[in-house]
Protein backbone atom coordinates (compact mmCIF):
# COMPACT_ATOMS: atom_id res chain seq x y z
CA UNK A 1 0.00 0.00 0.00
CA UNK A 2 2.71 2.49 1.03
CA UNK A 3 4.93 1.17 -1.79
CA UNK A 4 2.08 1.54 -4.26
CA UNK A 5 1.36 5.10 -3.12
CA UNK A 6 5.04 5.99 -3.35
CA UNK A 7 5.32 4.60 -6.86
CA UNK A 8 2.11 6.35 -7.84
CA UNK A 9 3.29 9.69 -6.47
CA UNK A 10 6.56 9.40 -8.41
CA UNK A 11 4.62 8.52 -11.52
CA UNK A 12 2.49 11.66 -11.26
CA UNK A 13 5.54 13.80 -10.51
CA UNK A 14 7.37 12.27 -13.48
CA UNK A 15 4.45 13.05 -15.72
CA UNK A 16 4.18 16.59 -14.42
CA UNK A 17 7.88 17.23 -14.92
CA UNK A 18 8.02 15.84 -18.43
CA UNK A 19 4.61 16.73 -19.80
CA UNK A 20 2.73 19.38 -17.84
CA UNK A 21 4.21 22.23 -19.84
CA UNK A 22 4.22 20.34 -23.10
CA UNK A 23 1.55 20.36 -25.76
CA UNK A 24 -0.18 16.98 -26.19
CA UNK A 25 0.55 14.79 -29.21
CA UNK A 26 -1.37 16.38 -32.09
CA UNK A 27 -4.84 15.02 -32.80
CA UNK A 28 -4.83 12.40 -30.09
CA UNK A 29 -6.72 14.24 -27.33
CA UNK A 30 -9.99 14.48 -29.26
CA UNK A 31 -9.59 10.88 -30.35
CA UNK A 32 -9.29 9.75 -26.73
CA UNK A 33 -12.09 12.05 -25.52
CA UNK A 34 -14.39 10.62 -28.17
CA UNK A 35 -13.44 7.04 -27.37
CA UNK A 36 -13.89 7.50 -23.63
CA UNK A 37 -17.23 9.24 -24.12
CA UNK A 38 -18.67 6.79 -26.61
CA UNK A 39 -17.42 3.81 -24.64
CA UNK A 40 -18.87 4.94 -21.30
CA UNK A 41 -22.10 6.62 -22.36
CA UNK A 42 -24.45 3.65 -22.95
CA UNK A 43 -23.74 1.97 -19.63
CA UNK A 44 -23.77 5.30 -17.81
CA UNK A 45 -27.20 6.18 -19.22
CA UNK A 46 -28.61 2.78 -18.33
CA UNK A 47 -27.35 2.87 -14.77
CA UNK A 48 -28.39 6.50 -14.27
CA UNK A 49 -31.95 5.75 -15.43
CA UNK A 50 -32.43 2.86 -13.06
CA UNK A 51 -30.76 4.53 -10.11
CA UNK A 52 -33.09 7.47 -10.77
CA UNK A 53 -36.25 5.35 -10.80
CA UNK A 54 -35.26 3.62 -7.58
CA UNK A 55 -34.37 6.85 -5.86
CA UNK A 56 -37.93 7.98 -6.51
CA UNK A 57 -39.32 4.69 -5.26
CA UNK A 58 -37.35 4.69 -2.01
CA UNK A 59 -38.00 8.40 -1.49
CA UNK A 60 -41.67 7.57 -1.85
CA UNK A 61 -41.40 4.71 0.66
CA UNK A 62 -39.57 6.90 3.12
CA UNK A 63 -41.66 10.06 3.01
CA UNK A 64 -45.15 9.30 1.79
CA UNK A 65 -46.16 7.28 4.91
CA UNK A 66 -45.22 10.39 6.91
CA UNK A 67 -47.29 12.55 4.62
CA UNK A 68 -44.24 14.12 3.05
CA UNK A 69 -45.02 13.52 -0.63
CA UNK A 70 -43.48 16.84 -1.53
CA UNK A 71 -40.14 15.77 -0.06
CA UNK A 72 -39.60 13.07 -2.69
CA UNK A 73 -38.41 15.61 -5.26
CA UNK A 74 -36.11 17.16 -2.72
CA UNK A 75 -34.63 13.80 -1.74
CA UNK A 76 -34.01 12.79 -5.32
CA UNK A 77 -32.32 16.09 -6.08
CA UNK A 78 -30.06 16.06 -3.05
CA UNK A 79 -29.01 12.42 -3.24
CA UNK A 80 -28.92 12.15 -7.02
CA UNK A 81 -27.48 15.46 -8.12
CA UNK A 82 -24.99 15.91 -5.35
CA UNK A 83 -23.80 12.37 -4.69
CA UNK A 84 -24.99 9.50 -6.82
CA UNK A 85 -24.66 10.94 -10.31
CA UNK A 86 -21.04 12.07 -9.95
CA UNK A 87 -19.97 8.86 -8.24
CA UNK A 88 -21.80 6.65 -10.72
CA UNK A 89 -20.27 8.53 -13.63
CA UNK A 90 -16.84 7.98 -12.06
CA UNK A 91 -17.47 4.29 -11.42
CA UNK A 92 -18.67 3.65 -14.96
CA UNK A 93 -15.82 5.55 -16.57
CA UNK A 94 -13.38 3.67 -14.32
CA UNK A 95 -14.99 0.39 -15.34
CA UNK A 96 -14.97 1.10 -19.07
CA UNK A 97 -12.23 3.61 -19.86
CA UNK A 98 -9.96 3.05 -16.86
CA UNK A 99 -9.72 -0.69 -17.38
CA UNK A 100 -9.02 -0.15 -21.05
CA UNK A 101 -6.21 2.30 -20.28
CA UNK A 102 -4.62 -0.13 -17.84
CA UNK A 103 -4.87 -3.15 -20.10
CA UNK A 104 -3.69 -1.34 -23.24
CA UNK A 105 -0.60 -0.03 -21.51
CA UNK A 106 0.09 -3.34 -19.75
CA UNK A 107 -0.11 -5.15 -23.10
CA UNK A 108 2.20 -2.59 -24.69
CA UNK A 109 4.62 -3.09 -21.84
CA UNK A 110 4.53 -6.86 -22.19
CA UNK A 111 5.21 -6.61 -25.91
CA UNK A 112 8.11 -4.18 -25.39
CA UNK A 113 6.19 -1.41 -27.16
CA UNK A 114 6.72 0.94 -24.22
CA UNK A 115 10.47 0.31 -24.45
CA UNK A 116 10.23 0.85 -28.20
CA UNK A 117 8.70 4.30 -27.61
CA UNK A 118 11.56 5.23 -25.28
CA UNK A 119 14.13 3.98 -27.75
CA UNK A 120 12.48 5.97 -30.55
CA UNK A 121 12.97 9.03 -28.35
CA UNK A 122 9.27 9.44 -27.57
CA UNK A 123 8.46 9.84 -23.88
CA UNK A 124 5.87 7.13 -23.12
CA UNK A 125 4.28 9.29 -20.42
CA UNK A 126 3.72 12.05 -22.93
CA UNK A 127 2.56 9.76 -25.70
CA UNK A 128 0.34 7.44 -23.65
CA UNK A 129 -0.79 9.41 -20.58
CA UNK A 130 -1.21 12.98 -21.84
CA UNK A 131 -3.88 12.32 -24.51
CA UNK A 132 -5.85 10.08 -22.16
CA UNK A 133 -5.64 12.61 -19.34
CA UNK A 134 -6.78 15.58 -21.42
CA UNK A 135 -9.39 13.42 -23.12
CA UNK A 136 -10.93 12.18 -19.87
CA UNK A 137 -10.80 15.66 -18.32
CA UNK A 138 -12.77 16.95 -21.31
CA UNK A 139 -15.52 14.35 -21.14
CA UNK A 140 -15.88 13.53 -17.44
CA UNK A 141 -17.62 16.79 -16.47
CA UNK A 142 -19.98 16.37 -19.42
CA UNK A 143 -20.70 12.75 -18.49
CA UNK A 144 -21.38 13.82 -14.91
CA UNK A 145 -23.89 16.45 -16.03
CA UNK A 146 -25.52 13.96 -18.38
CA UNK A 147 -25.79 11.48 -15.52
CA UNK A 148 -27.35 14.15 -13.28
CA UNK A 149 -30.06 15.09 -15.76
CA UNK A 150 -30.77 11.52 -16.78
CA UNK A 151 -31.15 10.48 -13.17
CA UNK A 152 -33.48 13.35 -12.25
CA UNK A 153 -35.53 12.83 -15.42
CA UNK A 154 -35.90 9.13 -14.72
CA UNK A 155 -36.97 9.83 -11.12
CA UNK A 156 -39.46 12.38 -12.36
CA UNK A 157 -41.01 9.86 -14.73
CA UNK A 158 -41.10 7.17 -12.05
CA UNK A 159 -42.56 9.59 -9.49
CA UNK A 160 -45.32 10.88 -11.72
CA UNK A 161 -46.21 7.91 -13.92
CA UNK A 162 -45.59 4.99 -11.59
CA UNK A 163 -46.11 6.51 -8.15
CA UNK A 164 -48.74 9.06 -9.11
CA UNK A 165 -47.05 12.09 -7.54
CA UNK A 166 -47.66 15.63 -8.71
CA UNK A 167 -45.00 16.49 -11.32
CA UNK A 168 -44.99 20.23 -10.76
CA UNK A 169 -44.51 19.84 -7.02
CA UNK A 170 -41.76 17.29 -7.57
CA UNK A 171 -39.87 19.68 -9.82
CA UNK A 172 -40.43 22.68 -7.61
CA UNK A 173 -38.98 20.92 -4.57
CA UNK A 174 -36.16 19.44 -6.60
CA UNK A 175 -35.27 22.88 -7.90
CA UNK A 176 -35.46 24.52 -4.51
CA UNK A 177 -33.24 21.89 -2.91
CA UNK A 178 -30.46 22.33 -5.43
CA UNK A 179 -28.92 25.19 -7.31
CA UNK A 180 -26.48 25.99 -10.06
CA UNK A 181 -23.80 25.58 -7.46
CA UNK A 182 -24.55 21.85 -7.29
CA UNK A 183 -24.09 21.52 -11.03
CA UNK A 184 -20.78 23.33 -10.78
CA UNK A 185 -19.80 21.05 -7.89
CA UNK A 186 -20.74 18.04 -10.05
CA UNK A 187 -18.58 19.35 -12.87
CA UNK A 188 -15.68 19.88 -10.49
CA UNK A 189 -16.11 16.40 -9.06
CA UNK A 190 -16.15 14.97 -12.58
CA UNK A 191 -12.99 16.86 -13.40
CA UNK A 192 -11.20 15.57 -10.29
CA UNK A 193 -12.44 12.00 -10.73
CA UNK A 194 -11.29 12.05 -14.35
CA UNK A 195 -7.77 12.99 -13.31
CA UNK A 196 -7.74 10.34 -10.59
CA UNK A 197 -9.06 7.58 -12.86
CA UNK A 198 -6.56 8.39 -15.59
CA UNK A 199 -3.47 8.54 -13.39
CA UNK A 200 -4.45 5.46 -11.37
CA UNK A 201 -5.31 3.39 -14.44
CA UNK A 202 -2.30 4.34 -16.54
CA UNK A 203 -0.05 3.81 -13.52
CA UNK A 204 -1.50 0.32 -13.03
CA UNK A 205 -0.60 -0.34 -16.68
CA UNK A 206 2.95 0.96 -16.40
CA UNK A 207 3.59 -0.78 -13.06
CA UNK A 208 2.28 -4.15 -14.26
CA UNK A 209 4.46 -7.21 -14.42
CA UNK A 210 5.01 -8.50 -17.92
CA UNK A 211 2.80 -11.26 -19.24
CA UNK A 212 -0.90 -12.10 -19.42
CA UNK A 213 -1.29 -12.32 -15.63
CA UNK A 214 0.18 -8.85 -15.28
CA UNK A 215 -2.33 -7.49 -17.77
CA UNK A 216 -5.27 -9.05 -15.90
CA UNK A 217 -3.98 -7.80 -12.59
CA UNK A 218 -3.39 -4.28 -13.89
CA UNK A 219 -6.94 -4.13 -15.28
CA UNK A 220 -8.41 -5.36 -12.05
CA UNK A 221 -6.42 -2.99 -9.82
CA UNK A 222 -7.25 -0.08 -12.10
CA UNK A 223 -11.00 -0.35 -11.55
CA UNK A 224 -10.79 -1.24 -7.86
CA UNK A 225 -8.28 1.42 -6.89
CA UNK A 226 -9.80 4.21 -8.96
CA UNK A 227 -13.31 3.46 -7.67
CA UNK A 228 -12.17 3.41 -4.06
CA UNK A 229 -10.13 6.58 -4.59
CA UNK A 230 -13.08 8.39 -6.20
CA UNK A 231 -15.51 7.36 -3.45
CA UNK A 232 -13.07 8.49 -0.76
CA UNK A 233 -12.42 11.79 -2.48
CA UNK A 234 -16.16 12.23 -2.95
CA UNK A 235 -16.63 11.81 0.79
CA UNK A 236 -14.10 14.52 1.53
CA UNK A 237 -15.40 16.91 -1.12
CA UNK A 238 -19.00 16.47 0.05
CA UNK A 239 -17.99 16.98 3.68
CA UNK A 240 -16.33 20.24 2.70
CA UNK A 241 -19.13 21.45 0.43
CA UNK A 242 -22.22 20.19 2.23
CA UNK A 243 -21.14 18.99 5.69
Amino acid sequence: MIRWLGGFAWFVVDWARACAMRRPPPGRVMEEAFRIGVMSLPVLLTISIFVGTNLALQGYNAFVPLGGQRLVGMFVALAGVRELAPIIAAAMVAAKAGTEMASQIAVMKTREQVDALEVMAVNPLWWLVTPRLYGIVLVMPALTVISIFTMVAASYVAATVQLGLNGAVFLEFARNATSGFDLVAGVVKGFVFGIVICFVSTYCGFASTKGPEGVGQATNSAVVISSVACVSINYIVSQVLYG
Binding site: A18, V107, M108, R111, E112, Q113, D115, A116, E118, V119, M120, A121, V122, N123
Partner: protein, 261 residues
Amino acid sequence: MDEPIVFTGVSKRFGALTVLDDVSLSFQRGQTTAVIGPSGTGKSVLLKHIVGLLHPDSGTVSVLGVDMARAKDKDVYAVRKRLGMLFQDGALFDSLSVGENIAFPLQRHRADLSTKRQRERVDQVLELVELPGLYDRPTSALSGGQRKRVGLARAIVNEPEIVLFDEPNSGLDPMTSDAIDHLIHDMKAKLGITFVVISHDIVGTINVADRIAMLYQGKLIANGTTAEVVRSEHPVLRRFLGRNLVLPEPGDDGLPRLPSI
Protein backbone atom coordinates in the same frame (compact mmCIF):
# COMPACT_ATOMS: atom_id res chain seq x y z
CA MET B 1 35.26 9.27 -32.33
CA ASP B 2 35.95 5.74 -33.48
CA GLU B 3 34.15 4.05 -30.64
CA PRO B 4 30.55 5.24 -30.56
CA ILE B 5 29.66 2.88 -27.70
CA VAL B 6 31.95 2.40 -24.70
CA PHE B 7 31.22 0.31 -21.59
CA THR B 8 33.62 1.05 -18.74
CA GLY B 9 33.57 -1.26 -15.73
CA VAL B 10 29.81 -1.77 -15.93
CA SER B 11 28.15 -3.86 -13.22
CA LYS B 12 24.44 -4.52 -12.94
CA ARG B 13 22.60 -6.49 -10.27
CA PHE B 14 18.96 -7.42 -9.89
CA GLY B 15 18.57 -8.24 -6.21
CA ALA B 16 21.08 -10.97 -5.44
CA LEU B 17 21.63 -11.75 -9.11
CA THR B 18 24.69 -10.16 -10.72
CA VAL B 19 23.89 -9.92 -14.40
CA LEU B 20 26.82 -7.81 -15.59
CA ASP B 21 30.07 -8.02 -13.65
CA ASP B 22 32.62 -5.32 -14.39
CA VAL B 23 32.15 -5.38 -18.15
CA SER B 24 34.40 -3.13 -20.23
CA LEU B 25 33.78 -3.26 -23.93
CA SER B 26 33.79 -0.85 -26.81
CA PHE B 27 32.14 -1.06 -30.18
CA GLN B 28 33.94 0.18 -33.31
CA ARG B 29 32.37 2.61 -35.74
CA GLY B 30 31.19 1.06 -38.98
CA GLN B 31 31.66 -2.46 -37.69
CA THR B 32 29.25 -5.21 -36.79
CA THR B 33 29.84 -6.58 -33.32
CA ALA B 34 28.03 -9.68 -32.15
CA VAL B 35 27.48 -10.14 -28.43
CA ILE B 36 26.91 -13.82 -27.83
CA GLY B 37 26.24 -16.01 -24.84
CA PRO B 38 23.76 -18.57 -23.59
CA SER B 39 20.19 -17.50 -22.78
CA GLY B 40 19.85 -15.57 -19.55
CA THR B 41 23.42 -14.27 -19.40
CA GLY B 42 22.46 -10.64 -19.69
CA LYS B 43 22.75 -9.89 -23.38
CA SER B 44 19.44 -8.05 -23.51
CA VAL B 45 20.38 -6.28 -20.29
CA LEU B 46 23.58 -5.10 -21.98
CA LEU B 47 21.59 -3.80 -24.94
CA LYS B 48 19.18 -1.95 -22.67
CA HIS B 49 22.13 -0.16 -21.11
CA ILE B 50 23.11 1.13 -24.54
CA VAL B 51 19.71 2.73 -25.12
CA GLY B 52 19.46 3.94 -21.52
CA LEU B 53 16.47 1.79 -20.55
CA LEU B 54 18.61 0.36 -17.75
CA HIS B 55 21.30 2.14 -15.79
CA PRO B 56 24.44 0.49 -14.39
CA ASP B 57 24.94 0.10 -10.64
CA SER B 58 28.54 1.06 -11.20
CA GLY B 59 30.63 2.01 -14.23
CA THR B 60 29.53 4.07 -17.21
CA VAL B 61 27.97 3.51 -20.59
CA SER B 62 28.84 6.19 -23.08
CA VAL B 63 26.97 6.36 -26.39
CA LEU B 64 27.99 8.94 -29.00
CA GLY B 65 29.81 10.73 -26.20
CA VAL B 66 26.80 10.87 -23.84
CA ASP B 67 26.71 9.11 -20.48
CA MET B 68 23.34 7.41 -20.85
CA ALA B 69 22.72 7.06 -17.11
CA ARG B 70 23.68 10.54 -15.95
CA ALA B 71 22.94 12.85 -18.85
CA LYS B 72 19.83 15.01 -18.95
CA ASP B 73 16.71 13.52 -20.56
CA LYS B 74 17.07 15.93 -23.44
CA ASP B 75 20.57 14.65 -24.27
CA VAL B 76 19.55 11.01 -23.88
CA TYR B 77 16.65 11.53 -26.29
CA ALA B 78 18.99 13.30 -28.70
CA VAL B 79 21.20 10.19 -28.75
CA ARG B 80 18.18 7.91 -29.19
CA LYS B 81 17.14 9.83 -32.28
CA ARG B 82 20.44 8.76 -33.82
CA LEU B 83 19.99 5.06 -33.16
CA GLY B 84 17.60 2.34 -34.19
CA MET B 85 16.70 -0.86 -32.43
CA LEU B 86 15.10 -4.07 -33.57
CA PHE B 87 13.29 -5.71 -30.67
CA GLN B 88 13.11 -9.44 -30.25
CA ASP B 89 9.49 -9.68 -31.41
CA GLY B 90 9.39 -6.49 -33.38
CA ALA B 91 7.56 -4.40 -30.74
CA LEU B 92 5.27 -3.02 -33.45
CA PHE B 93 2.29 -0.92 -32.38
CA ASP B 94 -0.87 -2.99 -32.77
CA SER B 95 -3.12 -0.05 -33.53
CA LEU B 96 -1.05 1.10 -36.51
CA SER B 97 -0.62 -0.42 -39.95
CA VAL B 98 2.75 -1.65 -41.20
CA GLY B 99 3.47 1.62 -42.98
CA GLU B 100 2.33 3.77 -40.06
CA ASN B 101 4.61 1.80 -37.76
CA ILE B 102 7.59 2.42 -40.02
CA ALA B 103 6.65 6.07 -40.52
CA PHE B 104 6.39 6.63 -36.75
CA PRO B 105 9.99 7.81 -36.13
CA LEU B 106 9.79 10.11 -39.17
CA GLN B 107 6.50 11.65 -38.05
CA ARG B 108 7.89 12.28 -34.61
CA HIS B 109 11.34 13.55 -35.47
CA ARG B 110 11.46 14.58 -39.10
CA ALA B 111 9.10 17.51 -39.36
CA ASP B 112 11.49 18.75 -42.03
CA LEU B 113 10.26 16.03 -44.39
CA SER B 114 6.91 16.50 -46.12
CA THR B 115 4.31 13.76 -45.74
CA LYS B 116 5.05 12.79 -49.32
CA ARG B 117 8.77 12.51 -48.71
CA GLN B 118 8.11 10.47 -45.55
CA ARG B 119 5.90 8.12 -47.51
CA GLU B 120 8.58 7.71 -50.15
CA ARG B 121 11.14 6.91 -47.50
CA VAL B 122 8.84 4.30 -45.92
CA ASP B 123 8.20 2.67 -49.31
CA GLN B 124 11.93 2.64 -49.88
CA VAL B 125 12.73 0.76 -46.66
CA LEU B 126 9.78 -1.59 -47.21
CA GLU B 127 11.45 -2.47 -50.49
CA LEU B 128 14.77 -2.91 -48.68
CA VAL B 129 13.30 -5.47 -46.26
CA GLU B 130 11.60 -7.20 -49.16
CA LEU B 131 8.05 -6.35 -48.17
CA PRO B 132 7.04 -3.97 -50.97
CA GLY B 133 3.44 -2.80 -51.07
CA LEU B 134 2.58 -3.79 -47.49
CA TYR B 135 2.03 -0.21 -46.28
CA ASP B 136 -1.64 -0.66 -45.37
CA ARG B 137 -1.41 -4.19 -43.99
CA PRO B 138 -2.46 -4.42 -40.31
CA THR B 139 0.35 -5.75 -38.15
CA SER B 140 -1.91 -8.52 -36.86
CA ALA B 141 -1.80 -10.08 -40.33
CA LEU B 142 1.98 -10.51 -40.31
CA SER B 143 3.98 -13.67 -39.73
CA GLY B 144 6.81 -13.69 -37.17
CA GLY B 145 9.43 -13.20 -39.85
CA GLN B 146 7.51 -10.35 -41.43
CA ARG B 147 7.09 -8.62 -38.04
CA LYS B 148 10.82 -8.73 -37.60
CA ARG B 149 11.43 -7.25 -41.01
CA VAL B 150 8.95 -4.46 -40.33
CA GLY B 151 10.70 -3.87 -36.99
CA LEU B 152 13.98 -3.68 -38.89
CA ALA B 153 12.49 -1.26 -41.41
CA ARG B 154 11.33 0.96 -38.56
CA ALA B 155 14.77 0.76 -36.95
CA ILE B 156 16.56 2.02 -40.07
CA VAL B 157 13.98 4.40 -41.55
CA ASN B 158 15.47 7.50 -39.97
CA GLU B 159 19.01 6.66 -41.12
CA PRO B 160 20.50 5.92 -37.70
CA GLU B 161 24.23 5.83 -37.02
CA ILE B 162 23.89 2.83 -34.72
CA VAL B 163 21.51 -0.10 -35.14
CA LEU B 164 20.94 -2.61 -32.35
CA PHE B 165 19.47 -6.06 -32.88
CA ASP B 166 18.09 -8.26 -30.15
CA GLU B 167 18.18 -11.83 -31.40
CA PRO B 168 17.48 -11.01 -35.04
CA ASN B 169 17.55 -14.67 -36.03
CA SER B 170 15.67 -16.35 -33.21
CA GLY B 171 12.42 -17.97 -34.20
CA LEU B 172 12.95 -17.28 -37.87
CA ASP B 173 13.01 -19.64 -40.79
CA PRO B 174 16.43 -19.91 -42.44
CA MET B 175 15.30 -17.92 -45.47
CA THR B 176 14.22 -14.86 -43.50
CA SER B 177 17.23 -15.26 -41.30
CA ASP B 178 19.55 -15.20 -44.30
CA ALA B 179 17.68 -12.25 -45.71
CA ILE B 180 18.28 -10.30 -42.52
CA ASP B 181 21.96 -11.25 -42.52
CA HIS B 182 22.26 -10.00 -46.07
CA LEU B 183 20.46 -6.83 -45.20
CA ILE B 184 22.88 -6.13 -42.37
CA HIS B 185 25.78 -6.84 -44.68
CA ASP B 186 24.46 -4.59 -47.45
CA MET B 187 23.55 -1.72 -45.18
CA LYS B 188 26.90 -1.81 -43.51
CA ALA B 189 28.72 -1.70 -46.81
CA LYS B 190 26.59 1.16 -48.10
CA LEU B 191 26.01 3.30 -45.05
CA GLY B 192 28.86 2.72 -42.61
CA ILE B 193 26.43 2.02 -39.79
CA THR B 194 27.64 0.58 -36.49
CA PHE B 195 25.75 -2.61 -35.75
CA VAL B 196 25.37 -4.47 -32.50
CA VAL B 197 23.86 -7.93 -32.84
CA ILE B 198 22.83 -9.91 -29.79
CA SER B 199 22.51 -13.64 -30.24
CA HIS B 200 22.56 -16.91 -28.36
CA ASP B 201 23.35 -18.59 -31.64
CA ILE B 202 26.87 -18.10 -32.89
CA VAL B 203 26.31 -19.82 -36.19
CA GLY B 204 23.72 -17.20 -37.01
CA THR B 205 26.12 -14.33 -36.36
CA ILE B 206 29.41 -15.54 -37.77
CA ASN B 207 28.38 -14.54 -41.25
CA VAL B 208 27.69 -10.94 -40.37
CA ALA B 209 29.98 -10.12 -37.47
CA ASP B 210 33.30 -8.34 -37.81
CA ARG B 211 33.88 -8.74 -34.12
CA ILE B 212 32.50 -11.06 -31.46
CA ALA B 213 32.22 -10.50 -27.72
CA MET B 214 31.12 -13.34 -25.52
CA LEU B 215 29.31 -12.93 -22.21
CA TYR B 216 29.27 -15.78 -19.76
CA GLN B 217 27.93 -15.61 -16.22
CA GLY B 218 28.05 -11.84 -16.27
CA LYS B 219 31.64 -11.60 -17.43
CA LEU B 220 33.15 -10.84 -20.78
CA ILE B 221 35.17 -13.94 -21.60
CA ALA B 222 36.15 -13.19 -25.17
CA ASN B 223 36.36 -10.11 -27.33
CA GLY B 224 38.07 -9.85 -30.69
CA THR B 225 37.68 -10.20 -34.42
CA THR B 226 35.44 -13.01 -35.57
CA ALA B 227 38.42 -14.95 -36.87
CA GLU B 228 40.22 -14.63 -33.54
CA VAL B 229 37.25 -15.59 -31.45
CA VAL B 230 36.19 -18.66 -33.41
CA ARG B 231 39.72 -19.97 -33.11
CA SER B 232 40.04 -19.18 -29.43
CA GLU B 233 40.93 -22.05 -27.14
CA HIS B 234 38.88 -20.77 -24.20
CA PRO B 235 37.11 -23.90 -22.91
CA VAL B 236 33.68 -22.27 -22.38
CA LEU B 237 33.88 -20.70 -25.79
CA ARG B 238 34.81 -24.00 -27.39
CA ARG B 239 31.89 -25.64 -25.68
CA PHE B 240 29.55 -22.85 -26.74
CA LEU B 241 30.76 -22.93 -30.33
CA GLY B 242 29.87 -26.58 -30.41
CA ARG B 243 31.80 -29.56 -31.58
CA ASN B 244 30.37 -29.56 -35.05
CA LEU B 245 30.52 -25.94 -36.05
CA VAL B 246 31.99 -26.05 -39.53
CA LEU B 247 33.69 -22.80 -40.35
CA PRO B 248 33.25 -21.45 -43.81
CA GLU B 249 36.47 -20.99 -45.78
CA PRO B 250 38.02 -17.61 -45.05
CA GLY B 251 37.81 -15.02 -47.80
CA ASP B 252 40.68 -12.81 -48.99
CA ASP B 253 40.36 -10.60 -45.96
CA GLY B 254 40.71 -13.52 -43.58
CA LEU B 255 37.07 -13.33 -42.53
CA PRO B 256 34.67 -16.17 -43.18
CA ARG B 257 33.01 -15.75 -46.53
CA LEU B 258 29.36 -14.84 -46.67
CA PRO B 259 27.50 -17.74 -48.23
CA SER B 260 25.46 -16.65 -51.20
CA ILE B 261 21.75 -17.25 -51.41
